[in-house]
């Protein structure tokens, strides 16, 4: 089993923590993992990606190759489209639909959504609304972890215990709200739009 993920978003959205949660859950589940992150200048509101490679056998390359990602997991719709070349035939795009319009030439949202809907396998997630409903507006990345969960070779319990661990120092309320965000995302993905 091999499962490559491109985790995408805009600097500041929590791409790294999203990717870390998935990596930690995979390690708990006994998988081999390589997680490549982008630090430094790119984090300042620019396009950010993490390459996450999960496998039942040792992982070689740090980077995902073109045409081999089982999933593009994006916190932002434009960023979901930026990396389509990496998607394997049959791979899924799981993306938040909330745009981050920090560039002047940001395309029309309906065009982006239309392009996403053309893909063979795509899940759109109202991540911001779900995070707000879970009581923690910033937890969109946990909503997206939940939305990705049904597709990943990871046990939901492992993911939930990693979320508990990551936020333990912030107190039980923050933990519960992050878990609620995760579960809300998971529910959306378990009942796909199509």
């Amino acid at each position: 089993m091999k499962f490559d993920v491109i985790v995408a978003g805009v600097g500041g959205q929590g791409v790294l923590s999203l990717s870390s949660i998935l990596a930690a859950a995979a390690l708990n589940g006994g998988l081999f993992v390589k997680q490549s992150e982008v630090h430094g200048m790119a984090q300042r509101g620019g396009a950010v990606t993490a390459h996450l490679r999960l496998s039942s056998t040792p992982v070689h390359s740090e980077l995902v190759a073109l045409g081999s990602a089982s999933m593009i997991l994006s916190l932002e719709p434009l960023e979901a489209l930026r990396h389509l070349e990496y998607l394997a035939p049959g791979g899924a795009v799981v993306t938040a639909v909330d745009p981050v319009r920090n560039i002047p030439n940001y395309p029309a949202l309906d065009e982006l959504v239309a392009a996403i809907r053309l893909l063979p396998s795509a899940v759109e997630v109202e991540a911001a609304a779900l995070a707000r409903r879970a009581g923690l507006a910033r937890a969109t990345n946990m909503v997206m972890a939940g939305a990705a969960a049904p597709w990943l070779p990871l046990r939901p319990d492992d993911l939930e215990s990693c979320i508990r661990m990551l936020f333990a120092s912030k107190g039980p309320v923050v933990v519960e709200r992050n878990l609620a965000a995760f579960r809300a995302g998971r529910e959306v993905s378990c009942s796909p739009i199509r």
């Binding site: 805009v10 600097g11 500041g12 929590g14 923590s17 870390s20 990596a23 930690a24 390690l27 081999f32 993992v33 390589k34 997680q35 490549s36 992150e37 982008v38 630090h39 430094g40 200048m41 790119a42 300042r44 509101g45 620019g46 396009a47 992982v59 070689h60 390359s61 740090e62 980077l63 995902v64 190759a65 073109l66 045409g67 081999s68 434009l78 960023e79 489209l81 930026r82 389509l84 070349e85 990496y86 998607l87 394997a88 035939p89 920090n102 560039i103 002047p104 030439n105 395309p107 923690l136 910033r138 937890a139 990345n141 946990m142 936020f167 912030k170 107190g171 309320v173 923050v174 992050n178």
Partner: protein, 532 residues
């Protein structure tokens, strides 16, 4: 053995801890920053500290080594240019406590001004360089590098690249070795590089090259794997993984030599070359091994790599460029969708925005001649919508360039530099400008942290900047502190304008804390309830 999940950088830090380091120094720089951050966060017993720049970091490390203790010094590749003076000279010293320089290259320039290859600087200094290929080997090699440094009495370079430094994976860690006792280097003049001593030490270093080579020839980090066919592959660093990824698809497994130590194991390379007619060299960074192998004379073995067009001459290697070089067809994939670029930008509410806007306002109507800038978040003001800067070269260059341009006759000239960049390399060029009372205006954008690399503290607090400037000799009537805030937009612009019109040196410190740093500080405070 315990297994821990670590970034390559963190594996280096832990390797240093387990090798018994007593101290660590560095200057933040992507992709090396997390080495020292890990030490600062996890090991208070190691005297780890940020230095004002890479040169002072390296010099402090030399002091630790002279005292007989082990020391790790970290920087990014271009930082080694700043530290090149002590680094190159230190190869001539009789290194006492193990000194390891972990330097992180940034092929592809994710966050850098060039993609220079530190293996060449290790070669330039005539010392030993180890090149790990994953976090595990980074951990193992760091430990070994300290032993080598003490065995051969030279600084040992550990060369990392971005994708290794910032890749998180499992690492098996071993037991800790205790730190060295305090034991000052014996006094044989081996640390006094007066010409007579330096000549003796240089000759000694050259004589010991044979020992370094013998180490390299027999190192287990250089792995020869048998294969079939007339085309062999040499890999270095993480390129090894890009090859491994594709081996199952190749018709036959080629003979492979992985290189992990420098000086290059020449006899091993010759033995490898004797079995093949063509060698493809896969290495991240410069075509260093490739050039060494090819030389300039006709050779019996064809050498393919970056200089032959088999791989791109620039940028980092990727699984896909390696795949092409191996002659494999491209994997089927969707065509890319054209989407607008999303370049990094200054954060909402960033004080640099207010500083640059005030500067633009002040320059309004003047012939805009030169705004020389520097390395930091504020360099993003070179891009639209601000589009206010003319240069970004290296740490501290803004002030020297503004002085030169003013000397040459450009008026007005402005230097825009951050507070930590100023402390790093701006003091000395400012002294040049003070000495000449150059007609130029220096604006120090003081956000009270090292912003770009993640909010490390600046070496001296913001409040000490003004007395430093006065102490350097900046005239008090032309040295100002302003607050970089929208509510002072008009008065700030007026003040900058006045100082630009002053026909001599002016320095304006525009202060306001980095918004990211404010946010992080609030998140650290108890009961604030922020996530991530």
């Amino acid at each position: 053995m315990a297994v821990r999940t670590l970034l390559g950088d963190e594996a280096v830090a832990l390797g240093g801890i387990h090798a018994g380091i007593s101290a660590a120094y560095g200057y933040p720089g992507t992709p090396s920053t997390e080495i020292l951050e890990f030490l600062l966060q996890h090991r208070p017993e190691v005297a780890a500290s940020w230095a004002v720049n890479e040169k002072t970091a390296y010099e402090q490390a030399l002091g630790v080594s002279m005292a007989g203790r082990r020391v790790l010094v970290t920087m990014k590749h271009v930082g080694l240019n700043v530290a090149a003076d002590p680094f190159v000279n230190s190869a001539l010293l009789d290194i006492n406590g193990g000194l390891v320089l972990a330097v992180a290259d940034d092929p592809g320039m994710h966050s850098s001004q060039n993609e220079q290859d530190s293996r060449l600087l290790a070669d330039f200094a005539r010392t030993i360089c180890l090149e790990p290929h994953d976090a595990q080997s980074a951990y193992d090699m760091t430990r070994e590098a300290f032993d080598l440094s003490e065995r051969f009495h030279v600084p040992v370079v550990l060369r990392l690249v971005t994708r290794l430094a910032h890749c998180r994976t499992g690492v098996e860690v071993g037991a800790s070795r205790p730190p060295n006792p305090l034991s000052k280097a014996p006094d044989h003049g081996n640390w006094v590089l007066l010409p007579a001593n330096a000549r003796r030490r240089w000759r000694d270093l050259l004589d010991r090259q044979a020992d370094f080579l013998a180490f390299s020839e027999h190192s287990a980090h250089n792995e020869l794997t048998a294969g079939s066919g007339e085309a062999g592959v040499i890999t270095a660093g993480i390129a090894r993984h890009y090859l491994a990824e594709h081996l199952p698809e190749l018709e036959q497994r080629p003979p492979i030599l992985h290189v992990g130590t420098y000086p290059l194991p020449a006899a091993l390379l010759r033995r490898f070359a004797a079995q093949v007619r063509r060698i493809l060299v896969l290495e991240d960074g410069y075509p260093f091994i490739e050039r060494m192998l090819r030389g300039v004379l006709p050779a019996p073995v064809a050498i393919a790599g970056r200089e032959t067009g088999d791989l791109p001459i620039d940028g980092e290697l990727t699984p896909d460029t390696v795949r092409r070089a191996l002659g494999l067809p491209q994997r089927p994939h969707l065509p890319g969708v054209p989407v607008p670029a999303r370049t990094p930008q200054l954060c909402n509410g960033c004080p640099h925005i207010d500083t640059v806007r005030a500067l633009k306002e002040a320059l309004e109507g003047l012939p805009r001649q030169l705004v020389a800038s520097d390395i930091g978040c504020y360099t993003l003001a070179a891009l639209p919508p601000l589009a206010a800067l003319d240069s970004c070269v290296c740490m501290g260059a803004s002030i020297g360039m503004a002085k030169g341009a003013s000397d040459a006759g450009l008026k007005p000239t402005v230097a825009l530099i951050g507070d930590s960049t100023f402390l790093h390399s701006g003091l000395t060029p400012l002294l040049d400008a003070v000495a000449a009372d150059t007609d130029m205006t220096v604006i120090i954008a003081d956000n009270e942290v090292v912003g770009m690399t993640g909010g490390q503290p600046t070496l001296v607090g913001s409040s000490r900047l003004y007395p430093i400037l006065i102490g350097l000799g900046v005239p008090a009537e032309h040295c100002h502190l302003i607050e970089a805030h929208p509510r002072y937009a008009v008065t700030n612009a007026e003040l900058i304008r006045r100082e630009i019109e002053h026909p001599g040196l002016s320095v304006i410190v525009a202060v306001r804390e980095c918004v990211e740093s404010v946010r992080a500080r609030k998140a650290r405070a108890p009961n604030e309830g922020a996530v991530t």
